[in-house]
């Protein structure tokens, strides 16, 4: 676990030693309330809840999480520090998990920046705080899933821009899979059972029940599986580099 601790601390520090975390947090702190107020019309719904925030959060996260994850391995490959990392007695799972947890911590901090909205709706009315807490938990899981997918695609290239584009595209796909528009299109091409199975893989539909305040084991298992699969794919891609040069 010493390797995990070392990588986590280094990665977390790296986010704040460069403008990345500050820019990310600033964009999130401005974009999340703006979408909630303007597009979501928080104060015009007449309800004391944060539904407008959680309506738009998945779309914000699917852009911002790949931006946070793009540097995970692509930067190491580009700068040559991957060789230093692979020559140190750090297990690959420790490196992947350390990088993931650092990015997830920044994502968690970003979500905390929306807490003033939560305080505001409590001041204005009597929301179901347990449901809101569950929705925040779901948003954290969704962010984790997107980060893991982003990390896997960051391991596939040494170019951070390409890593971001691939990551955002993959996150868009797993989000869109649950929308009626995508389901209609899929049902035209695929047998009904296959289209339904693909819909089950949608991050958006899994997040939907959590945002309504319902915690279910399948949804939890879905997001944890997405995280494990993403990190596993990243580890496989990096480990393959031991066999093929820098």
């Amino acid at each position: 676990m010493t390797g995990l601790n070392a990588v986590y601390r280094r990665e977390l520090a790296a986010y704040f030693q460069t403008p990345l975390a500050w820019v990310f947090l600033t964009v999130f702190a401005i974009a999340a309330p703006s979408l909630t107020w303007r597009a979501g019309r928080l104060f015009e719904t007449g309800r004391a809840d944060l539904a407008p925030l959680f309506d738009y959060l998945p779309w914000l996260l699917l852009v911002l999480m790949p931006a946070l994850a793009m540097r995970a391995w692509a930067e190491e490959r580009d700068r040559g520090t991957l060789e230093t990392l692979l020559a140190s007695p750090i297990a690959l799972w420790e490196a992947a998990l350390g990088k993931f947890l650092a990015a997830w911590s920044v994502a968690g901090l970003a979500l905390m920046l929306t807490f003033p909205l939560w305080i505001a709706v409590n001041w204005l009315g009597s929301p179901d705080n347990a449901a809101i807490a569950t929705a925040y938990f779901g948003a954290l899981l969704l962010a984790g899933g997107y980060l893991a997918v982003g990390q896997a695609l960051s391991a596939a290239t040494s170019n951070q821009v390409i890593a971001f584009v691939l990551g955002a595209s993959a996150c868009l796909l797993i989000t869109l899979a649950g929308l009626p528009l995508a389901l209609d299109a899929l049902s035209a091409w695929l047998p009904g059972a296959a289209a339904e199975a693909l819909a089950e893989l949608s991050a958006l539909s899994r997040f939907e029940s959590l945002r309504r305040g319902v915690i279910s084991l399948p949804d939890m298992a879905y997001f944890l599986s997405l995280i494990v699969l993403g990190l596993g794919a990243a580890m496989t891609l990096i480990d393959a580099r031991r066999g093929g040069g820098r």
């Binding site: 010493t2 520090t81 230093t84």
Partner: protein
Amino acid sequence: MILADALVKTFAGKTAVDRVSFQVRQGEVLGFLGPNGAGKSTTMRMIAGCLEPDGGRAAVAGFDSAMQRRQAQSQLGYLPEGAPAYPAMTPRGFVRFSLRARGFSGAGLEAAAELALARASLGAAAERPIGTLSKGYKRRAALAAAIAHDPLVLILDEPTDGLDPNQKDGVRALITAMAPDKAIIISTHLLDEVEAICTRAILIAGGRVMADETPGALAKLGPQGDLPSAFRALTAPSGEVISHRPGRRAT
């Protein structure tokens, strides 16, 4: 302490390292010589465990570099080609990271970091981001991270590349001072460096060991009796193997 046993590595059908074998014992400083693309860095990467051989095996301090990677790497200090480092970190932060990854903590970590930074003569540069440092200081920052945990084995890929003459002397003195307790491999294009600090030299070309001698004996293989002429003679495309002692196995 270092074993390379018939190491083979191919990239896209091209053999980069072809049955390279040697052994380095405690107290030896092995100079790894050869033209660019000869297979020096690839061989060192396989010993360091960041590249897996297609054939043969490598070991560090008795641990197989592929099968017992973490144990082997715990005994290893490795300076990769180009001395890569994280530009936003300070040399002190980089050295601390390297130590923390090897289980150091608290006062032991601070003392080891302080010693490594002092031995690499980083001075006030230890507190500045690596990305703002000169090439020489960047290399010394990476060197400090490689030696901080006082490993039994050091593999240094061109440790003095880009350093000014004073800095080169400093790094060479550091390597000489550490040598009695360690097994050290340095790759270099500087033949005077081999004469100055190496107890043995291996010349590699086309992925194969062409000579494995003391620097003095290697020099005598050249038509002019010096290292440059030996290098040219042994690495010329039509050069034939003059002296080859591969496969000295660990006992």
